[in-house]
């Protein structure tokens, strides 16, 4: 039932997230389980009917006990701090993933209500279908041509917002061939529920044939065809584009910022490590 989710990870990010989940839940159960058990025991033992139980109506506190109460929660939380600090840096979505291969760069544009994926190095684009080689990191640069969106592929890892006039980034990798679900998780209007795409992790040969298939698709993605594509569409079909107008991604971003430098600034001040 958890096929292709964080609990059945298909990549290093989701696998690390799953480990983090079990580590932190384990730590927390140390305080949570006793509370539940203790409550049950106390409620049973000190029920009014049980006259054998000790009754101390005036006992309202004790220095030692009151101080001691802070000990366990503080200890667990301090341990969690270290976990948070380390893993937040380790699992920073902007952080390039360790790999022998350079990442495949994909530029994702959120539309009403579809996803456009531009492959700048291959100079092709696809809609509602993301294809990438297994075992090679994917760097997804995101923006939106509409309202806020959030891109997530649960089998591979977490999500990041896509916002108009700004660029955000998500680094993911699949280490298992498969077709995974991707979607927008941020409510954005009538077509929201159908704004899904397939994320296909394929071997290198299949990726090459996907690129070739796109090159033969016939239609080029330029400002005009983008405009058609960007009109609100619910459950639109998969589309391929044989070429992409130079710098289209940044043109889309600039069309919303109306001040291109704002877009660049936003991502660099928000995320110091990232250098667009």
């Amino acid at each position: 039932m958890f096929k292709d989710t964080m609990l059945d990870p298909a990549g290093p990010v989701s696998a690390a997230t799953r480990d983090l989940f079990f580590d932190s839940v384990g730590l927390m159960l140390i305080v949570v389980m006793p509370v539940i058990v203790l409550t049950a025991l106390v409620v049973w033992r000190y029920r009014a009917g049980n006259v054998a139980a000790r009754y101390t109506p005036h006992w309202g506190g004790s220095r030692i006990v009151e101080l001691g109460l802070w000990f366990m929660p503080v200890l667990i939380v301090v341990m969690l701090w270290f976990v948070v600090w380390n893993r937040t840096h380790a699992l920073d979505p902007y952080k390039p993933l360790a790999s022998g291969q350079p990442p495949l760069v994909v530029q994702a544009v959120a539309l009403d209500w579809q996803w456009l994926f531009i492959y700048p190095d291959e100079n092709i684009a696809s809609v509602n279908r993301l294809v990438f080689p297994v075992g090679r990191p994917v760097t997804i640069e995101l923006t939106s041509d509409s309202v806020m969106n959030s891109l997530m592929i649960p089998a591979l890892g977490g999500q990041i917002y896509a916002m108009a006039g700004m660029q955000t980034e998500l680094n993911l990798m699949a280490d298992r061939i498969g077709v995974y679900d991707g979607r927008n998780t941020m409510f954005n209007g009538d077509g929201f529920s159908a704004q899904v795409f397939t994320a296909e992790a394929v071997d290198v040969a299949a990726f090459q044939s996907f690129v070739a298939e796109a090159r033969n698709a016939g239609e080029a993605l330029d400002s005009a065809s983008f405009e058609t594509l960007a009109t609100p569409t619910i459950a639109g079909p998969v589309r391929l584009y044989s070429s992409v107008e130079n710098n289209l991604f940044h043109t889309i971003m600039a069309s919303h910022g109306s001040m291109p430098h704002v877009a660049a600034d936003a991502s660099s001040t928000m995320h110091a490590e990232h250098n667009p």
């Binding site: 989710t5 964080m6 997230t17 983090l20 932190s24 949570v32 203790l38 409550t39 106390v42 000190y46 029920r47 009014a48 139980a53 009754y55 109506p57 005036h58 006992w59 309202g60 506190g61 006990v65 109460l69 802070w70 929660p73 939380v77 701090w81 948070v84 600090w85 893993r87 937040t88 699992l91 920073d92 902007y94 952080k95 509409s146 309202v147 806020m148 959030s150 997530m152 649960p154 890892g157 977490g158 999500q159 990041i160 917002y161 108009a164 700004m166 955000t168 679900d181 409510f187 209007g189 009538d190 077509g191 929201f192 899904v196 910022g257 001040m259 936003a266 928000m270 995320h271 110091a272």
Partner: protein, 666 residues
């Protein structure tokens, strides 16, 4: 959109004939409202209601009206929840019975109503009734302000209800994130209704909070130090302080969004230099403290109920006070956890994740204190206590999932999914709502003189608790499976069974609510059996139990002298719970005034006019407010005197009730 001088944007298209279900909902509201009006007219109860209730400045009656408003809105909000649960149970690879547009209005109104028009009025109602009594005060500091606060809250609720009949409601969720809620993406009046309802009720809430703070600082019984106040008063104080500091965030976020929508400004638009991230930032500076505004007073209720029904002193009073204040302060340091996924630097996210976890510490300590209060007690399991025990067990689960969400990399996975929905219902339903139900059952006999029926109360409790687990545990699982929140339909067959279970849970909650309705009827019918006018049916520890049930208008004929915590308990143990003088002084109380309903009415008119761009009506609303303020400033007599004879007569009647009870017991 074209707009006329006389009616603004309002046309016949505003009537909800776009869907039979929406039209049906509107019909229920209209017919229900007409039915209530008809019934009151038939009973010729208008003069009575106007004289005794609508124009009152008595904090007890205002408190009861707040609670009635909250219960009505709870029904509305719950119908929304049922509709969503039914939709998602059937909408697998299917449209379901609600169009996306309608579904979106439903989740938006559910969230907005439950937070602002159910949770807040319920809390403010109980605080209104109980805080002055627990402080040993005759009234609140600003009775008129208090009445205006109630009527402004009611005006906000009325705007939400009106949107069901005339026009549409927002589809932007309770958070109303732009740019989706900007004019270019949400051109209908829905968002305007949402903004106006929140702005109007926000003013009311702020006025009430000011009133509570001053009351608590200035009106405590002679001798009562701050550290001798009942814990509920402490939580009311912290919650009110949070309101003062947090609500401006909502006002600013909503106000700037309104400027964008009405005057073409660009605070949060995609273009023109707007920045959507600022909205998230400002909204959550309000939004996170808001959840503590809701939950702290409920903690106060549990801290009152648990010792009473454990027949024991509250454990660690000092610690609980400090923990409450810690939580209140810290609640302003964590808002960024609502947008970890917006692309902030890892240092920033990690910092706010850590701050969020810090709050778990004082909260955890509180839970220990409640358990230690029961430890070596003599537990009686009346319904208020049952709600409290269910709260402790369920709440720690929600706390745990909260800490999970505060770990940024885990939030990247669970954000915007049903895991989050499960988490916050896991906090708000046991944490806030069970607390309110405990308070409702606990203080009901104070307000009416008779208790709520135990048998129906227990049934309601069982259905609610079972329903809660069935309705929300499956959502955690769905969150793991990557199911997003706010989906009108979906295409994953393996999700459906969980949605069906959740729907069964919601149905169980419905039965619970049904039991509560029956409970109220049965309790009123059988009131003779549980009548206790003497005023202390539970063996309470705090001052509200040291007066009659219901208390007289002036609360205390003689102000209690306080030198210790749990003043009434101490007095009872000393064998002299009641000190009865031989003669009485006259007491000054505020006069009734129509100002509350007038301001509420004008605020509703103003909000409605602005929503529909009917500018002459808006001008009328503003002029009305100004004229009313000027007229009021000429009112010379704002108080009246209750004579000592009248007080004597009331008190002697109560003394007789107390003696009768004492004799019956001995």
């Amino acid at each position: 959109m074209n707009s006329s001088m006389l009616f603004g944007k309002l046309t016949f298209d505003a009537l909800p004939f776009y869907s039979p279900i929406a039209a049906g909902g509107a019909a229920v509201i209209v017919l229900g409202g007409a039915g209530v009006v008809g019934l009151i007219t038939w009973l010729r109860a208008w003069p009575y209601l106007w004289r005794e209730w609508f124009t009152t400045t008595d904090h007890k009656k205002i408190g009861m009206m707040y609670v009635i408003l909250a219960l009505v809105m709870l029904l509305r909000g719950f119908v929304d929840a049922l509709m969503m649960r039914a939709q998602q149970a059937i909408a697998m690879n299917a449209e379901g019975y609600l169009t996306p547009d309608h579904f979106q209005q439903v989740f938006s109104s559910h969230g907005t109503i439950m937070i602002f028009f159910m949770g807040m009025p319920f809390l403010f109602g109980i605080m209104n009734y109980i805080v002055p009594l627990q402080l040993g005060a005759r009234d609140v500091a600003f009775p008129l302000l208090n009445a205006i606060g109630l009527w402004l809250t009611a005006a906000g609720a009325a705007l939400v209800m009106a949107s069901l009949v005339i026009g549409v409601f927002s589809t932007g969720g309770w958070t109303g994130y732009p740019p989706y809620t900007e004019l270019s993406y949400s051109p209908t009046v829905g968002v305007d209704y949402w903004i106006m309802a929140l702005l109007v009720s926000g003013i009311g809430t702020t006025l009430s909070a000011i009133n509570f703070i001053v009351t608590i600082y200035k009106m405590r019984a002679p001798g009562m130090k701050l550290m001798q106040m009942p814990l509920f008063c402490w939580t009311a104080l912290c919650s009110s302080l949070l309101v003062i500091f947090a609500i401006p965030g909502l006002t600013v976020a909503g106000g700037l969004l309104a400027l964008d929508r009405y005057l073409g400004m660009h605070f949060f638009t995609n273009d023109g230099g707007g920045n959507v991230m600022n909205y998230a930032n400002i909204f959550w500076i309000f939004g996170h403290p808001e959840v503590y505004i809701l939950i702290l007073p409920a903690f106060g209720i549990f801290s009152t109920v648990i010792p009473t029904f454990s027949q024991k002193k509250l454990f660690g009073y000092n610690v609980l006070v400090y923990a409450t204040m810690c939580i209140a302060v810290l609640s302003f340091t964590v808002w960024l956890h609502h947008f970890f996924t917006m692309g902030a630097d890892a240092n920033v996210n990690a910092f706010f994740g850590i701050m969020t976890m810090v709050i778990a510490v004082p909260t955890g300590v509180k839970v220990y204190d409640w358990i230690l209060t029961m430890y070596r007690g003599r537990l009686r399991f009346d319904t208020p206590m049952l709600w409290s025990i269910a709260f402790i067990v369920t709440f720690v689960i929600g706390g745990m999932t909260g800490v999970i969400l505060s770990i940024p990399p885990l939030d990247y996975v669970f954000h915007n999914t049903l895991f989050l929905i499960a988490h916050f219902h896991n906090m708000l339903v046991p944490g806030m709502l069970f607390g309110l139900f405990a308070g409702y059952a606990y203080w009901f006999p104070k307000a009416t003189g008779f208790r709520l029926d135990e048998r129906w109360g227990r049934r309601a409790f069982v259905f609610w608790v079972v329903g809660f687990y069935l309705a929300f545990m499956p959502l955690y699982v769905l969150g793991f499976m990557g199911a997003a929140r706010r989906m009108a339909y979906y295409d994953q067959p393996e999700w459906q069974i969980y949605f069906v279970v959740a729907a069964v849970g919601a149905f169980s909650v419905l039965l619970g609510i049904g039991c509560q309705v029956i409970q109220l009827v049965v309790s009123i019918r059988n009131r003779k059996g549980t009548m206790d006018l003497a005023g202390d049916p539970w063996g309470g520890q705090t001052l509200e139990w040291s007066t009659s049930s219901p208390p007289p208008e002036y609360n205390f004929a003689v102000l209690p002298q306080v030198s210790e915590l749990d003043a009434f308990q101490v007095a009872k143990e000393a064998g002299r719970p009641y000190v009865w003088p031989t003669h009485y002084e006259p007491i000054e109380v505020p006069r009734n005034t129509a100002l509350g309903p007038i301001f509420g009415g004008l605020a509703f008119v103003l909000g409605f006019a602005v929503v529909w761009h009917i500018w002459w009506l808006a001008a009328f609303g503003i002029a009305g407010v100004i004229a009313t303020i000027i007229a009021r400033s000429f009112a010379a007599e704002t108080t009246r005197i209750i004579s000592s004879e009248e007080i004597m007569a009331t008190e002697l009647r109560w003394h007789a009730d107390v003696r009768a009870k004492q004799e019956a017991n001995s």
